[in-house]
């Protein structure tokens, strides 16, 4: 890992005095509202499915997740997802929609390099990090739990 270089001390104040900073408050609010609403709607359908179809809560959750993933992938393919994500940011990135979009967009992107060496090799280009650290941290937590005799 290379150490990040510093901006020249005389130039730093100049660059900071120009341009508009990221609208953090607006972005956070949009993410909170959209992400919250998305989860609330998903929760509603989960309850609805478990009530109407009579499946267990766990199965209803899986069904809803599949639907949300499919919708996110579909919107990615239609070229709409990135436009909504620009507005709501983490509101779409944090729920499972972000993970679905990262795989769908990479798979689509590398179609021009072929199904195997293109989409196949690169589909998890962005999502790979999530899986890598997700599995890695799960192993660490499981080991700690094992050592402490919690399991």
């Amino acid at each position: 890992m290379v150490k990040k270089p510093k901006v020249a001390s005389w130039y730093d104040p100049i660059i900071k005095s120009h341009g508009t900073p990221r609208p953090l408050a607006k972005n956070c609010l949009a993410a909170f509202c959209f992400g919250g609403a998305l989860c609330a709607v998903a929760q509603f359908f989960q309850l609805l499915i478990s009530q109407i179809a009579g499946v267990s809560d766990k199965d209803a959750a899986a069904i809803v997740m599949i639907i949300v993933i499919a919708l996110a992938a579909l919107l990615t393919g239609l070229g709409v997802f990135d436009k909504i994500a620009q507005q709501v940011g983490a509101g779409l990135a944090v729920p499972i929609t972000g993970f679905a979009n990262s795989i769908a967009s990479s798979t689509l992107e590398f179609k021009s390099e072929g199904y195997v060496l293109g989409s196949g090799c690169n589909g998890f280009k962005l999502a790979g990090a999530v899986i890598f650290f997700g599995i890695g941290s799960a192993v660490v937590v499981a080991l700690i739990a094992l050592i402490l005799g919690l399991v």
Partner: protein, 338 residues
């Protein structure tokens, strides 16, 4: 160097200047809808237009730009002594493939978004020095190829900050020769690479503005003219944020640019379109604005003296991921009606 070219530091002043014989600009659908839409010679209605990949589309745009420039100059490809071309893709394949079709002696160039002007300067030098009778330079970029190479997949939902720029889908080509003509390439300044330690690859304007200020200062000093000498000074792809920084930097050096006579190609090409954030970028931006809009205004006599200072960010995805700072470069060329 022959007596027709005077070297002043990092600048060349051409006393027997080469002529910009013809120029062409090609754009994509978004560029066509912008305020310069009417200044393009050809506009594609689709970013892929039936091609198998975006990369092939980029090459096709370059090819059409070259073919149109040749047709406008009233010559054939075989009349071109040397062809200079560049783009943003790895190993500048769009340019190499275009040169393959043209089958003319070829120099591949890379100066990121400053490539078109680098090509124009070298083409003019060849002609003015007598090393060539007729040369062609071209550059092009495509938003979908640049985005996937430098950033993320096109459909990835990444929230971009306000200072980010949008790569232009466009190409431009120009033919330079030793014959008579309206527009002459009278002077050029070769930029030094300037790096003030910016690592944020979304802030290209901030990374390149110091190089622009450096080149403008050198050009005005070495040519011995003030900024007022030019009807228009054009920076290539600093965007709105970089343009403000450039004005500030030059002001601190005692050079006050008249805001009405200093425009940035990146701000010009999309107007006030908020979807492009701080403006356009990419080799195709300065190429299509210079060889389309500016060329037409010079030909029509609306402008007499224009200084185009294109700016390029010499980073790669690897250097960026390894947290290297972004070196900037700016090459300037003076176009004048004589």
């Amino acid at each position: 160097m022959s007596g027709t070219i005077v070297q002043q530091g990092q600048s060349w002043i051409f006393s027997v200047p080469a002529t910009l014989i013809a120029a062409s600009a090609i754009g994509g659908p978004k560029e066509g809808k912008g305020p310069l839409g009417a200044d393009f010679d050809y506009l594609f209605s689709d970013n892929r237009d039936g091609q198998a990949s975006f990369e092939q589309m980029e090459q096709r745009m370059l090819q059409i730009a070259c073919e149109m420039a040749i047709a406008k100059a009233g010559c054939v490809a075989d009349d071109i002594d040397f062809f200079l071309c560049g783009d943003l893709l790895n190993q500048i394949t769009s340019s190499g493939f275009t040169a393959r079709s043209l089958a003319r002696p070829y120099f591949g160039l890379f100066a990121a978004c400053a490539t078109a002007v680098e090509g124009l300067i070298l083409s003019s030098l060849m002609v003015a020095s007598g090393a060539a009778k007729k040369t062609m330079c071209a550059a092009g970029s495509h938003t979908c190829t640049a985005e996937r190479q430098f950033r993320y997949p096109n459909e990835y939902g990444c929230q971009k900050p306000p200072q980010s720029q949008y790569t232009t889908t466009a190409a431009g080509a120009a033919i330079i020769g030793n014959e008579e003509g309206v527009i002459k390439i009278t002077a050029a300044t070769i930029g030094r690479v300037v790096d003030l330690g910016i690592t944020d690859s979304f802030n290209m304007g901030g990374a390149m503005a110091p190089a622009f200020a450096d080149t403008i200062t050198a050009h005005l000093q070495q040519r011995g003219v003030s900024a007022d000498y030019y009807d228009l000074i054009l920076s290539g792809d600093l965007g709105r944020v970089g343009r403000d920084i450039a004005l500030d930097l030059l002001y601190r050096r005692g050079i006050e640019l008249d805001e009405r006579r200093y425009i940035d190609c990146g701000c010009l090409i999309y107007g006030d379109d908020k979807a492009v954030f701080a403006g356009g970028s990419g080799c195709g931006c300065v190429a299509s604005v210079s060889f389309g809009h500016i060329y037409r205004r010079l030909m029509a006599g609306e402008l007499n003296r224009v200084l185009i200072a294109a700016t390029g960010a010499l980073l790669s995805p690897t250097s960026s991921q390894q947290k290297q700072s972004i070196p900037g470069i700016s090459h300037a060329v003076a176009l004048e009606r004589i």
